[in-house]
């Protein structure tokens, strides 16, 4: 019988590969990465005064006027990193259009009239986007400076200092990491 002849090799290969690729390999690889690259392997965590304040590459929420605001997050609780996801609302969604209109109104109210960068009023794919565009950060800079009683120029300079550049202007985008920017903001000397 054809099938019986194949049973032993098929079953044995499934078991062997499960033990090797599913158990031995991840165990060994995790051990090696924990030893060689512990910071990255454990989530690129940033600590302050001995406390974990978050991950350098996972966005977190900032709601106060004295911090730069991240992008909108479509998650049930904004920036809840125990999950992830997008709004999944389509281009002709009335709900999405209404939300975008509200966000545009709130943005211009907070940061004054002018162009509204698209990333500031759209939700990201992960709901955990750690970055905002440079245009978005520079638009927020005067309001953040005012809330902290700092010169606008000092805050705008900080944005430009923290700016990540696209490689050869082709790979990636010019953007700023919001958590790192806000940490640097806290470190700015008061005037």
């Amino acid at each position: 019988m054809l099938i019986l002849r194949e049973l032993r090799p098929a079953l044995s290969l499934v078991v062997l590969f499960t033990l090797i690729l599913g158990l031995a390999l991840p165990e060994a690889f995790t051990g090696a990465m924990q030893a060689a690259l512990p910071w990255q392997a454990n989530g690129s965590l940033i600590t302050k005064n001995g406390q974990v304040i978050g991950s350098a590459i996972i966005g977190q929420n900032f709601t106060g006027a004295n911090y730069f605001a991240p992008r909108p997050s479509a998650l049930g609780t904004a920036y809840d990193a125990s999950t992830s996801g997008a709004s999944n609302l389509g281009p002709t969604s009335a709900a999405l259009l209404a939300t975008v209109q509200q966000r545009v109104a709130a943005y211009t109210k907070a940061f004054g009239p002018g162009p509204v960068p698209a990333d500031a009023v759209t939700a990201s794919g992960s709901g955990l986007d750690p970055d905002i565009s440079v245009a978005n950060a520079l638009r927020q800079a005067p309001a953040v400076a005012a809330a902290r009683h700092l010169p606008t120029q000092a805050v705008a300079d900080l944005v430009n200092k923290m700016r990540h550049h696209a490689t050869f202007r082709i790979i990636g985008t010019d953007h700023v990491n919001v958590l790192r920017l806000n940490l640097a903001l806290d470190a700015l000397p008061a005037t």
Partner: protein, 565 residues
């Protein structure tokens, strides 16, 4: 669109096609048993599993071995998913899956689809990801590539009785191709910030004084084989949009490269196997042209942005940013999603449900073409061979000669089997989506109204049947209708196509390999490439035109007329 954006697309193609040439040569060497650097390990596998390395299999035996191994592996994954609560590596104490969700997920990963009706962070443990999903990511990819190797062998000589040994192919492909490249890629991913940890979720006290729980796990290793094996099953719900799966623009480029490279290398391997490299390059060129058109088309659509949002005051320069991540940018986001649907990967770094209608139509259409640009690892190759047979058949009809492909006569039996494969998949997609949309349960699953809702459902059935696994992700997929329906679609789409193809290979293998004559239709030049692309688009795509017109095309015109739903 900007020049930089188009240059990014050109860069991806240069890196992939440049690597596919040497990699194809290497893959041919694996198929022919000339790669031996892990020979003792390989022999150990054969000894423990009772595999007779010298045994040669007929197409029937090859198919039985492949099906049986897939069935056993399917049952194992089902058991793991149901029992994950009791298994090790479950720091979050995640409960076992329901029977229907476990069936859907087991079908999904056995068929190289990686459709995810579950939310990974809350519904699957690290142990089930490692012992279950990741192993399937290796073996379902290797099984697809093995089937491609069997098809390739059919064209290598006259009067062949066998197509190779499935177990030997599976073992060699895993050890010599998938494992080494995945390991190197996984190290690079960890360097860039993908975590690889067994710790429970992290509790953080955020800078402004709140709290944040951060999901973490052994993600890097799974990410590498997820892309390389055209699997696509994300460790996290946001898939490659999640910063832990895809930390920056460089990892995005690496993942994009990984998910394309084997698909494009396989036709090159074929050229080496049949000792006529131009044959492989012609197939690769047809795949690349279709994918390039898709990449540019989707980028153009997304860079234009959403006219309703622009009218609402959103700056026009950015393009459509809903569902996209700042660090990648528009061209890299669209190129990733198009690459992942031109292959059967189904990974996403941005959310297609929120793409503009035409931007979202490109991934849908590439799946509907039958996953050949360059398709899933292995499955893309044997599907393009089916289209190549149709192409020589059409050319033969035009000049009144018996068509040949690589010296093998293509006759009634092969064409009937090929047509069967193509038509039953279309039937499954259209009947499945149509049926779902007249049931209350199906309509209740939709996240969007109007033509976009129809596209959501059409996309789901297309993705499952074509074994892609991406989604218009707003759809609620964990319902009895979609868990069982799409689960069946995935199994059907994989095996009801693969078996006729192996039968074609068996039939062609047995035929004499005729020498080329003055009347042979050349299958290497621009004429053949153009014909092949035409056949793929007409045969693969045209069947879906009515459905696509009601979905994305209708939505496009309504969007520009200012209509919302």
């Amino acid at each position: 669109m900007t020049t930089q954006g188009l240059l990014y697309i050109a860069l991806v193609f240069a890196l992939v096609l440049g690597a596919a040439l040497p990699l194809g040569r290497y893959i041919a060497a694996i198929f022919e048993g000339r790669v031996r650097f892990l020979r003792p390990v390989e022999l150990g596998f054969y000894r423990l599993a009772g595999v007779d390395e010298t045994r040669q299999m007929t197409w029937q035996a090859y198919a039985v071995a492949l099906l049986l191994l897939s069935l056993i592996h399917f049952l194992l994954l089902y058991a793991i998913l149901r029992l994950q609560y009791y298994l090790p590596f479950n720091p979050q104490h995640i409960a076992g899956m329901s029977p229907r969700l476990a069936f859907n997920t087991a079908a999904s990963f056995t068929t190289n689809t990686n459709w995810q009706a579950y939310v990974p962070e809350g519904q699957i443990s690290n142990g089930a990801q490692m012992l279950g999903l990741a192993v399937h990511m290796f073996l379902s990819a290797a099984a697809g590539i093995a089937a491609a190797a069997a098809v390739m062998r059919a064209f290598t000589a006259s009067a062949l009785k066998s197509l190779g040994n499935f177990y030997v192919d599976l073992t060699r492909i895993t050890l010599y191709l998938l494992l080494p490249i995945s390991l190197i890629a996984a190290v690079l991913l960890v360097v860039a910030g993908c975590p690889q940890s067994f710790a429970p979720f992290i509790s953080a006290h955020t800078l402004q004084g709140g709290s944040q729980t951060i999901a973490i796990g052994p993600a890097a290793l799974q990410e590498a084989i997820k892309e390389l094996g055209t699997n696509g099953g994300g460790f996290f719900n946001a898939n490659s949009g999640h910063p832990f799966e895809n930390p920056n623009a460089w990892t995005n480029l690496l993942e994009n490269w990984l998910l394309l490279v084997i698909g494009f290398a396989l036709p090159i391997a074929f050229g080496h196997m049949v000792k006529d490299k131009a044959q492989g390059r012609a197939l690769m060129a047809a795949m690349a042209i279709i994918l390039a058109l898709g990449c540019v088309g989707a980028y153009a659509a997304e860079a234009t942005g959403n006219p309703l949002h622009i009218a609402a005051g959103v700056a026009q320069s950015g393009g459509n940013w809903e569902g996209k991540e700042v660090r990648f940018g528009i061209p890299a986001s669209t190129t990733f999603n198009v690459s992942a649907t031109g292959t059967s990967t189904g990974a996403v770094d941005s959310f297609t449900d929120s793409y503009t209608p035409l931007g979202g139509a490109v991934p849908l259409f590439l799946m509907q073409l039958g996953e050949v640009s360059p398709g899933g690892v292995g499955s893309g190759f044997y599907t393009v061979i089916v289209f190549a047979l149709f192409s020589v058949f059409v050319a033969g009809l035009m000049v009144g000669r018996t068509p040949e492909y690589l010296g093998k006569k293509v006759q009634e039996k092969e064409i009937k089997l090929a047509m069967l494969g193509v038509l039953i998949l279309t039937l499954f997609i259209l009947a499945g989506a149509g049926f779902s949309l007249v049931t209350a349960s199906g309509v209740g699953s939709l996240a969007n109204a109007g033509p976009h809702g129809l596209t959501e459902m059409l996309y789901a059935w297309t993705s499952a049947t074509e074994n892609n696994g991406s989604a218009f992700a707003g759809i609620s997929a964990d319902t009895p209708l979609l868990d069982y329906g799409l689960g069946a679609a995935m199994l059907f789409g994989r095996f009801a196509f693969m078996i006729p193809v192996l039968a074609i290979a068996g039939s062609l293998a047995a035929k004499p390999k005729l020498p080329e004559s003055a009347g042979t239709f050349p299958t290497t030049g621009p004429l053949f490439i153009g014909l092949l692309i035409g056949v793929i688009i007409i045969l693969g795509g045209l069947q879906f035109m009515p459905a696509d017109t009601l979905g994305p095309l209708a939505e496009h015109f309504l969007l520009h007329a200012g209509k919302t739903f």
